[in-house]
């Protein structure tokens, strides 16, 4: 049997003395799209950041295997060149660093690792233009600093653009649909769909069933209080929409105990 693209076992992570991920188990196979939902503060972004290698969070237990290799042993840049990509919930503005220059440097780091030739500025521009069409991004963004002065929706599109350029194996999209208008949502969803492929896995974090109408997930997981409280197929998202997160939440008394698990 081949390894799944991603296998997370009993992952626990904390910041200072606050435990945020309290035992996550998750398997995502190549070609699959999994959605993660869950109330604010349940730990979705923390999971995404831990997978991308954010050092703010200390992993205290568990393991993460990516294509069979120990993901947690890698630095963020090693993960990126190995094909992990996380679209940020809050993309960072970096004044003074050109959007395209940055992306070319990133792409060349990835290509070098794959044994491919680096792209020069001209070739890269042609390549990037192709990908920009995918998310209907305006050419004027090429001349600007990374995310600087971008509107909320433009930042999200820029994330998908970066994903399209970097061509990852495992993509984690953290609320890429939040803050998008209806048209932009469709554009981003189309972008995501066009990147769906048998050798790529995606984890889509979202609060809205709406995105999942466009990007139909193979599995839906609901996080609550640092754990995956329920998993199901796409109908789970619909059920949540109807009943709210009360569907998955532990009764308040049980929450403080921390050890109970259904």
């Amino acid at each position: 049997m081949t390894d799944p693209m991603l296998r997370i076992r009993n992952l626990r992570a904390r910041v200072a003395d606050k435990e945020i991920l309290r035992g996550i188990d998750l398997e995502v196979g190549a070609g699959e799209v999994h959605a993660i939902m869950g109330p604010n503060g349940s730990g979705k972004s923390t999971l995404a950041q831990v997978l991308a290698g954010r050092e703010t969070y200390a992993v205290t237990e568990g393991e993460v295997l990516y294509q069979g290799q120990d993901l947690l042993a890698l630095s963020p840049e090693e993960r990126a060149v190995a094909g992990v990509f996380m679209a940020f919930q809050y993309p960072v503005e970096i004044p003074g660093v050109g959007n395209l220059y940055f992306l070319r440097t990133a792409l060349n780091a990835v290509r070098k690792r794959r044994g491919e030739e680096e792209l020069d500025a001209m070739d890269f521009l042609a390549f990037a233009r192709e990908k920009m069409k995918l998310v209907a991004m305006d050419e004027s963004f090429t001349g600007r600093s990374v995310n600087e002065g971008f509107s909320g929706g433009e930042k999200k599109r820029n994330e998908i653009f970066q994903m399209a350029v970097l061509d990852p194996r495992l993509a984690i999209l953290d609320e890429t649909d939040s803050g998008l208008d209806i048209d932009a949502l469709r554009i981003v969803a189309n972008g995501v769909n066009s990147l769906r492929s048998p050798d790529r896995a995606m984890i889509v974090i979202t609060h809205y069933q709406r995105l999942l109408e466009y990007v139909v997930p193979d599995r839906v997981h609901v996080m609550d209080n640092g754990r995956i409280a329920r998993s199901g197929d796409r109908r789970l998202a619909l059920e949540l929409e109807e009943k709210g997160y009360a569907l998955v939440q532990e009764p308040p008394a049980a929450r403080s105990g921390g050890e109970t698990r259904r």
Binding site: P76, E77, M86, V92, V97, S145, Q162
Partner: protein, 441 residues
């Protein structure tokens, strides 16, 4: 008596002895006497609170050879004329070297060449301004420079003159016979409505120990405009102290870009005096230090007259165990109504061991003015670092790129393209992952 004092005394008596044709013995004597009274400043003095010259006091300097050899590589690496026909005046250990310089440039009453030559031929013009602006009574190092004036650059632009090419003043030290000491003294007199770009570069061979104590006086007549660049690239063991003193005539403009990269200890003073109405000055500075470097930047903008505008932006990048100092004073005197002054200092600390002292001072005695100032000290933004790394940039590359982004604002402010390119190279050469930054901008 410190070893430094002793070498000064010896040096001074040597000057006195061979100074038969010395055109300004009285000035020399007065300045030396003043230095003797003031002594080398200590950290007790408010002006030198953050910068100790104790290491300098222990140095024993030898007089420089008049014709020390200079390595061709050093010259080459320092300057490639950015524009055809650029005018270059070269000094080695304080001595003018005509064979390395462009021919003395004098056309239509302009003069660009050595101060010594100008003193011989046009004494009155020099004497009218020399030491009238940089006050040696107030400042020990200026007194020292004045006492030891031997040579430097003299630029005189008559009314309306506007040399097309930048004027490059290159000051090299060789330390060929041991630690040497030089006192370059420059005078720039810009007549009514004249315009020029002047670049001062200070450099020496790697690891050489020497002391450069420079003074530049700039006198701007009505409507004159000067763009001034200073590239301080001294050896990592050198001491560098310099004063740039600017006197603004009516409606004149002065832009200063100071780039401080070298020296174990450097102190760069820039003082602009608005002596008449309607002038503008912009003081930009970038200092980048690592190891145990100490880079001190001090500025004074004296709004003595109404309707003048000043803009100041200094940025510091401090790594290793280096220390940066910014102390900028904007003085708005009682008569200086309609002053518009803005001063900003920003610092980036790249290591635990790096320190910066920033002291912006705004003193306002007029009531109808627009003034603002601010200072900031920060580290690289962790979120931005992670963002870059999460896309595949290595840690060093990400740090370098963010550092470059911080510093590049100062580079982008340089209007002269070839010079901007040159400064960009100098800045990136200071970053750990310079390779990946070659095309950053």
């Amino acid at each position: 008596m410190t070893p430094f004092d002793r070498s000064l005394r010896e040096g001074f008596s040597l000057l006195r002895r061979h100074g038969g044709a010395d055109p300004m013995p009285a000035l020399r004597e007065a300045a030396f006497a003043r230095f003797a009274e003031l002594g080398l400043p200590t950290t007790e003095s408010e002006d030198w609170k953050y910068t100790s010259l104790a290491a300098l006091a222990e140095m024993d300097f030898v007089p420089a050879e008049a014709k020390a050899d200079i390595a061709e590589e050093l010259l080459q690496g320092l300057w490639t004329p950015p524009v055809d026909g650029s005018i270059q005046v070269v000094f080695v250990d304080g001595h003018h070297r005509p064979e390395l310089s462009s021919p003395a440039w004098s056309s239509g009453g302009s003069f660009i060449g050595s101060l010594r030559a100008a003193l011989a031929h046009n004494r009155d013009l020099v004497a009218r301004e020399l030491a009238r602006h940089a006050d040696f009574r107030r400042d020990a190092l200026t007194a020292l420079n004045t006492a030891f004036i031997e040579d430097g650059a003299f630029i005189h632009l008559p009314a309306g003159a506007a040399p097309q090419s930048p004027i490059h003043l290159l000051f090299l030290s060789t330390a060929s016979r041991g630690a040497t000491l030089s006192h370059p003294r420059n005078l720039i007199v810009a007549g009514r409505g004249s315009q020029a770009t002047v670049v001062e570069t200070y450099a020496g061979p790697p690891e050489a120990t020497y002391f450069t104590n420079a003074v530049t006086e700039v006198v701007l007549d009505e409507g004159a405009r000067l763009d001034h660049y200073k590239l301080q690239q001294e050896s990592e063991r050198a001491f560098h102290i310099a004063l740039l003193q600017v006197s603004h005539g009516r409606d004149s403009r002065f832009n200063s870009h100071s780039l401080a990269l070298g020296a174990t200890l450097a102190r760069n003073d820039v003082r602009a005096l608005f002596a008449a109405e309607g002038s503008e000055c912009t003081l930009n500075g970038l200092y980048m230090a690592d190891g145990k470097q100490h880079l001190d930047n001090r500025t004074l903008i004296d709004h003595k007259s109404p309707r003048c505008t000043s803009r100041e932006l200094y940025k510091g990048v401090l790594d290793g165990h280096s220390r940066g100092v910014f102390s900028g004073r904007v003085l708005v005197r009682e008569d200086a109504q309609k002053t518009d002054a803005r001063q900003i200092n920003k610092n980036l600390l790249l290591s635990e061991g790096a320190v910066v002292d920033t002291k912006p001072q705004l003193e306002i005695f007029a009531d109808d003015v627009k003034c603002a100032h601010g200072a900031a000290v920060g580290e690289l933004d962790e979120d931005a670092l992670f963002y870059l790394r999460s896309r595949g940039l290595g840690r060093e590359a990400a740090r370098s790129l963010l550092t470059y982004a911080f510093a590049s604002e100062m580079v982008d402010l340089i209007p002269l393209a070839p010079l901007r390119t040159r400064v960009r190279e100098l800045v990136t050469s200071r970053l750990p992952d310079r390779e990946s930054l070659r095309e950053a901008a």
